[in-house]
Symmetry: C2
Subunit: 395 residues, 2 copies
């Protein structure tokens, strides 16, 4: 039968608590650019939540005791107008902190935010594409340590850490498969990083995280049906369906890089080669040189770029035909190269029964770490606000 609500008073208390906290947090988040965040009175909360005044009072007392809510100082005007101003309360976004971490081929980056997801600072470390796993993890730890120290945030204040990295990620946070980073396949990444934190660590594929980021505050802010393409030599992709990340049954959704192999075509590194020698898979400078040569009219380079774009268009089209998103966001280093977005848009509108919008990433390189941060925020919000849903009994 699943979970039932009929006779469970503690569940009702939790629902009420979540409702009040959400109302307070919404009031705080929508403060019109004020230095001091907005707050809500008990009367406001009674009106917005539809709960009784005694219920709201009880819930607010509990939230204050838990450190999540604080009484806001009375506003000056109000104090003067009335003899005894209504008490006002606000959500304490500073009651905890979140990290968003990107672990990439060329760099690691960390973002710090409060419980409202407001960015407080960032730190970054370069890393060699050839670096072994331990070296890469060291860079992560050192970036995090620097960031926390610089911002004066205690490690114990962290409530969740989101981590985004290339590869197929298993549900337990280990790397099922990653061809891009040495020593990454099989690494229990979540477990390794958990040793550095006393809070949940959530590991996610990099393209998936970037899709979440562009939906949160980027090129797909208005849409919940999004395909994000991390364009590079071997493209990865992440998809949101109705605002939720689609990971696939085994976490491998969007790994379209293998598609061309079916046609027995050349690898991406061969496709972009102008010499017959394949390019290094992660040598972005070499690829940029080919694109620059093509712009200058070099025949071989133009042919190579043409091949590369056709490949990318084909891979993205496969995703679009399979998923039918509202928006395709193209990010990754190749999205900044001339001549990628235009042909992609043309071809999609030519062959898709219902062509999607095609937009360039607004967050650029930051998308992956911002997405990791959002996933940490999602986790905390779920803890704070979610209640078990009532039974919608089906089959």
């Amino acid at each position: 039968m699943g979970r039932l609500t009929g006779g469970d008073p503690s569940l009702l208390r939790r629902i009420n608590s979540a409702v009040v906290l959400h109302a307070l947090r919404t009031a705080t988040a929508t403060a019109p650019g004020a230095a001091a965040p907005d707050a809500a009175s008990l009367t406001d909360l009674v009106r917005v939540t539809g709960l009784s005044r005694p219920t709201v009072e009880g819930v607010v007392d509990g939230l204050i005791a838990g450190g999540l809510v604080v009484e806001a100082p009375a506003e000056e005007g109000e104090v003067r107008r009335q003899g005894r101003p209504a008490r006002r309360y606000r959500f304490r976004a500073e009651a905890g902190h979140l990290l968003g971490i990107e672990i990439g081929a060329h760099r690691v980056a960390a973002l710090l935010a409060d419980l409202d997801g407001r960015l407080m600072g960032s730190a970054e470390r370069p890393v060699s594409p050839d670096a072994e796993a331990e070296e890469r993890l060291d860079r992560v730890r050192s970036a995090v340590t620097e960031l926390l120290r610089r911002q004066g945030v205690a490690r114990g204040s962290l409530r969740a850490v989101g981590v985004a990295t290339p590869g197929i990620i298993a549900a337990d946070g280990s790397i099922r498969l990653c061809t891009a980073l040495p020593g990454w396949t099989g690494l229990p990444l979540g477990e390794r990083l958990k040793r550095s934190f006393r809070c949940p660590v959530l590991v996610e594929n990099d393209a998936n995280a970037a899709a979440v980021a562009e939906h949160w505050k980027g090129a797909a802010a208005g849409s919940g049906d999004v395909v994000f393409v991390l364009a590079g030599l071997s493209p990865g992709a992440g998809a949101l369906i109705a605002g939720r990340l689609h990971r696939g049954f085994g976490g491998a959704a969007g790994e379209i890089g293998a598609l061309h192999l079916l046609g027995r075509e050349a690898t991406p590194e061969e496709v972009l080669s102008t010499t017959g020698e394949p390019l290094h898979p992660l040598d972005e400078a070499q690829v940029a040189r080919v694109f620059a040569l093509a712009r200058d009219g070099d025949r071989q380079a133009r042919e190579a770029v043409g091949r590369f774009i056709r490949r990318l268009v084909h891979d993205v089209a496969a995703l679009v035909l399979a998923l039918d998103p509202e928006v395709v966001v193209v990010g990754g280093w190749a999205s900044g190269l001339d001549g990628v977005l235009g042909p992609l848009r043309d071809e999609l509108s030519r062959y898709c029964l219902r062509p999607p919008q095609v937009a360039q990433s607004l967050l650029g390189e930051a998308a992956v770490a911002i997405g990791a941060l959002r996933l940490a925020l999602d986790h905390v919000e779920k803890e704070l606000f979610a209640v078990e849903s009532t039974v919608t009994a089906r089959r």
Copy 2:
């Protein structure tokens, strides 16, 4: 803020009613093949739902008044053992009926079921692939009329009608685009069929419906992450993600038939040709002849079949890489042809980072109509059992 539950007693009544109805229906559905469906006593219902006895009594009285529940006759053994046996109640699956309708290129078919989805009968009409829309709709109406009359079911007893047909279906039940059936594009199919019924009519893409069917009682019964491929000259596909149909933002998800056009490859009708003249898009007999010739060793036919299978494998691989399903079910007429499933399985396990299981449709030709029926059942279950979910406040 969305919907709140805090202080809404009518919502609580509805939740309790849904919970009791679901418990009764589950008891009925799991009856061990008995001629008379199983029933539950008030004590059973109190135990299973966790609700109080007076609450259950009130709810059951309401359900009896609404015709959805009836007191079951006491079992003989029980009458003898005790002076006054506990009253037992059962869900009245016969309180309403459902239709599942397939409108295809070669035939229309209708299935009739009770509110438990138990099949009562079917009717079918052949139709020419060249038939105009009005003729096709006439066949549907005549099949339905025959079916209802034969089963002695009044039209007014229908609670929902599911309809599955090729093409991209808009949310309002009209056909946005359909290249397979003459006059189908732009047809307000749902609206037209609603005139024949006094209940909701739900229109769905045929491959989507077949995916639902194979999940309900076919080759994907154990999995909620399914890609169903309706294999034909131009393959269509439907996908379930976590047990729910993925339609895409514009209803065009899975329309992978256009994928090969990107590579400027030949059309499917050219691919299978052994003469240089393209085949007729819907001439299945002609295609079967090519496959038969290939089995007999005809060189040109073998090459044509090879091209056809490579195309199909490529299209399915695109779906698999994009969605990462647990199971791929292959149906449609081409799935019965020799040499389709084996190569598909081989190629997928060779190129997919996490290859899915590949299974042949268990429902065959019936899958589309059965899926349409299931969609009607889903609609009725939602009406009967669903309650608004409590607020899970996020962002």
